[in-house]
Symmetry: D2
Subunit: 343 residues, 4 copies
Amino acid sequence: MRIGLLTSGGDCPGLNAVIRSAVLHGIKSYGDEFVGFRDGWRGLIEADYMELSRHNVRGLSRVGGTILGTSRTHPYNYPGGGPQNMAKQLKRHDIDAVVVLGGEGTLAGAKRLTNAGLPMVGVPKTIDNDLNATDFTFGFDTAISIATDAMDRLRTTGESHHRCMVAEVMGRHAGWIALHSGMAAGAHAVLIPEKRVSMDQVCEWVEQVHSRGRSPLVVVAEGFIPDGAEEALAEKGEEASGRPRLGGIGEWVTAQIEELTGIETRNTTLGHIQRGGNPTGYDRVLATRFGIKALNLVHEQAWGRMVSLRGTDIVEVDLNAALEGLKTVPAERYEEAKVLFGR
Amino acid sequence: MRIGLLTSGGDCPGLNAVIRSAVLHGIKSYGDEFVGFRDGWRGLIEADYMELSRHNVRGLSRVGGTILGTSRTHPYNYPGGGPQNMAKQLKRHDIDAVVVLGGEGTLAGAKRLTNAGLPMVGVPKTIDNDLNATDFTFGFDTAISIATDAMDRLRTTGESHHRCMVAEVMGRHAGWIALHSGMAAGAHAVLIPEKRVSMDQVCEWVEQVHSRGRSPLVVVAEGFIPDGAEEALAEKGEEASGRPRLGGIGEWVTAQIEELTGIETRNTTLGHIQRGGNPTGYDRVLATRFGIKALNLVHEQAWGRMVSLRGTDIVEVDLNAALEGLKTVPAERYEEAKVLFGR
Amino acid sequence: MRIGLLTSGGDCPGLNAVIRSAVLHGIKSYGDEFVGFRDGWRGLIEADYMELSRHNVRGLSRVGGTILGTSRTHPYNYPGGGPQNMAKQLKRHDIDAVVVLGGEGTLAGAKRLTNAGLPMVGVPKTIDNDLNATDFTFGFDTAISIATDAMDRLRTTGESHHRCMVAEVMGRHAGWIALHSGMAAGAHAVLIPEKRVSMDQVCEWVEQVHSRGRSPLVVVAEGFIPDGAEEALAEKGEEASGRPRLGGIGEWVTAQIEELTGIETRNTTLGHIQRGGNPTGYDRVLATRFGIKALNLVHEQAWGRMVSLRGTDIVEVDLNAALEGLKTVPAERYEEAKVLFGR
Amino acid sequence: MRIGLLTSGGDCPGLNAVIRSAVLHGIKSYGDEFVGFRDGWRGLIEADYMELSRHNVRGLSRVGGTILGTSRTHPYNYPGGGPQNMAKQLKRHDIDAVVVLGGEGTLAGAKRLTNAGLPMVGVPKTIDNDLNATDFTFGFDTAISIATDAMDRLRTTGESHHRCMVAEVMGRHAGWIALHSGMAAGAHAVLIPEKRVSMDQVCEWVEQVHSRGRSPLVVVAEGFIPDGAEEALAEKGEEASGRPRLGGIGEWVTAQIEELTGIETRNTTLGHIQRGGNPTGYDRVLATRFGIKALNLVHEQAWGRMVSLRGTDIVEVDLNAALEGLKTVPAERYEEAKVLFGR
């Protein structure tokens, strides 16, 4: 077979490892040929692609980012998009199937396109770990690793200066990165989108820790909304959602803690470093297994299906499974972490 | 309650994180007191312990090893051991329960002791990931991370010199570390105790890679036995099992590859660095959750039970579950990895 | 002798390694006793200190921050400060000498105090590497290591999205961190306080790189002032110096690049992670050698002297040497780096 | 100009960074063309080379090893070697100058060839840091970083088991890696080729540390020869030098410590991981500066000269400077480190 691959949406450590294992497995086990579409759906729509040989994917399991490039191009709305045009392009370029690597939106597009007859299988990608369809996705563990390392550093400088340190991490709708990295780093408070907490409560935790002579560490997901702060924020001209925009929630929480407790407090927004760089061993293994399985799905012509991790098994599920709502942090996981807050 | 903790058997990154979260959770949620027995069962038998305050466990989530020390002391055979003596010691020192962190042997001891009436719960520990009772244990991910990093390094030096590089990793009875780190590093052959492979097959893989101008990487678990080499090894005065002893299997495989293929080949035995140092974020989260759950089991007086990871959930199982045979690499997992060997 | 140690000013990886080697050397070679003053000059002024035994400094060579705590307390202006009061405290607590670890301001204080008769020696500390008195100081290499690692990550995500990535690093008055980490990471522009560069020039470099299909990386020291932007910035209500304040120079440069070139551009401000965490091997060696030498200076009663690195030698210089102006990046070093900008 | 590059001898992190900066600087500043000879002198002798464009060296500052390959081919003795043949090859392929990256032997060859009229400049390379001609060479800092990290790991597992840990590191003739990594890791003994120490002395240090309840760490350079052990080793059939061969000096020292002290002792031979993988920021900066300077030397037609680090300056020296004996650890540096041994 001649198989196309594309990566769409935000980049994620492990994308290249999926590409590599799918290509190597296909060449060796089935004699397949591969092409890589550039910059997500755009490359497919415009037939902008590169041939992917064994040489092209050499050493890729340890390389972050995606050699294919990525974009947020919409598969239907982009000029020349939609199933008829895409089917023509695939036919014209002798491409028999497409492996689509992407998040919720991308997979929704792939589902719609397979319903319209296109031969596609999916590989879930979300650095925030917020897809219900799979226990974990690659990239998440790397983000945890980077965030934990950064917080270890913040703690030594915080302790030396008797400061409260705030770390803002990714997580717009789900607090998994904050929850895991915060637990790993021994944070004294973890603030996530799923759980409104008042700044009074946060400050109580901070003061408990500070009064014992220690440096409090507060981890804030970018999507956190403090309880009771909606109006105050609105007055300051923030967006209606009550979520502060200017400078981010990390800076807002930092200013609040300093104002309410009088404790010197510093914010660090980890930002783009969380999704870059070499994937961890965990993510490379997961991505490599996803790539092998995705290629098998192609040869089973399991269009509209995607790969997924369940326990320690790589299984297949329907692409619809990726679209059934976000996987947010359940109350019991938050309560579990909370037993270590404050004090 | 007044609760004792002990760590037994080989050390493992994450032991301290278990100790920390159990102690912090107990102090904060239940007002417990804690003691730490020194050097495994010996500390319990001889009542050699330290009080564990909040201060003692500060910052431990990121510290490798075990602050309690560990040993291979047998709980029955060591002088002063056995349930009656232990029960006396616990009573004399007002200790209401014991959390036992250890591998198969240690947990078997704990099971036998709880059958004899002692109040104990277990936390599984095996860096080799070879316990059936749980999907993963802490320490394994750290070992993968260290081994993967080392193999990344071996590859750059191998490529520069056009050599074949061999890496010997831990795994006496189960090849999980070799399988995962080998897959993560893009190894061209992974040799594990569960699967006899002939040196002819290994050399074929090595030569395929070398003939494409690349540097082959072969990962060998310490318990691997080459197919058909039993007699040859026995003649050289090796142990009856056919497993080479002097210098380890890594060196033996290296010498064989060099002799059979003529390709310059170098061995590196990773050894003790695999189990030392700071745990990864993944292991810290797992260990912290295990500690919290273990403490809950104590308060439920769930003697003879242990904590376990199933999918993404921390559950409890009977200590017997840890004793039902080793979790070895199943054939399908080996076959999955094998699609990327050679070429 | 009975010797006091204090750390003053911003924290820096390696402070603990200095403390450890001075204490271990003193105990073993001279039978000294040690105390550690808490939080810089405050601890000396208020006689707030801890005894430092061999046990207290155990394992400290690899631990970031300072176990003594630090502050910006002024040695003369703080209530109870000044040479007479300090001399009294030293006498009352039987302390024969003080080793002062700090930056330019701290060392100026130490010089003034030794002129007034106090028995003090200095250890230079500046994470920015901006002290003339020494080739390098500990902490700088760790900052380079962290910044380089972060930029490696930024590059993979930048390449995947075809973005321009901006990284803001420390360096208020001297651009050493930007220069070294930028050179290490292969940056396409490095903007430092010592060299005014116009945004037009920066955009030219960015566009050269982008036009070759690559992701430009721009490294900005926090003290950089763009050439010709003073008025524009002043109009926007920035501070008189022309240096943008809100959100930092990194965000300002990012916005400018995006506006002037139309290339999607993202900023990451590395912030506090640059000065935290375990020191590199390089910094541990330098700090350990500084501590040994500082202790020797004490026993030579070389009051008013400080330790310094010259080439590969640890030498002693007068504390005045630390006060003779900042060590900024010389023009030839900037020109050397510049040959790799753009394209 | 059209300039050739070659890397010869053992690989070293930073070689690629030299190649990259020389090529980029030459293309941009002088409009040069570049070729890379494959596998050291062999590539020059056999005119086996690749063109090196801007694209070929992209991203190389952070990549270990050498993209050119390396070998120990002798420039005179290899068939087709010697100045006449080389001059012909250079002429035939329009190559105006050669930049030679290598250690003592390689640079001696380059010197002899320049004396015979060939247009060559040198870049010193030794991971052991044993060249007199320069303060430091790239690769050494990376080796220190890897060794220090490994020793940090050994210490946590050593402490948990109350064992003595031995780490064998590179250093056949000079103990710089042992000295620096041992000092960085807080080793209790550092054994180097330059200083004979008796096993009784080593055991005394080990016992001092063990008796205080700590885990001793002993760092051994591969070229260390224990004082008084020459005969004992000779009796066991070792080589005349008295240096144990089988299993390496690390294993021999380990066995001796265990036998003489009764303390459980474990060896780890770091081996090939010390010279592989991504260079540190320090090494990338040094290598990048070396490459820029080497290219300048070419344009100054400074044949027979090489680049060198003196303090913080990159200077040029005669290739002879690299041949004036090894830079071994001077007695005062050993004594400086020794104040922290034992106890």
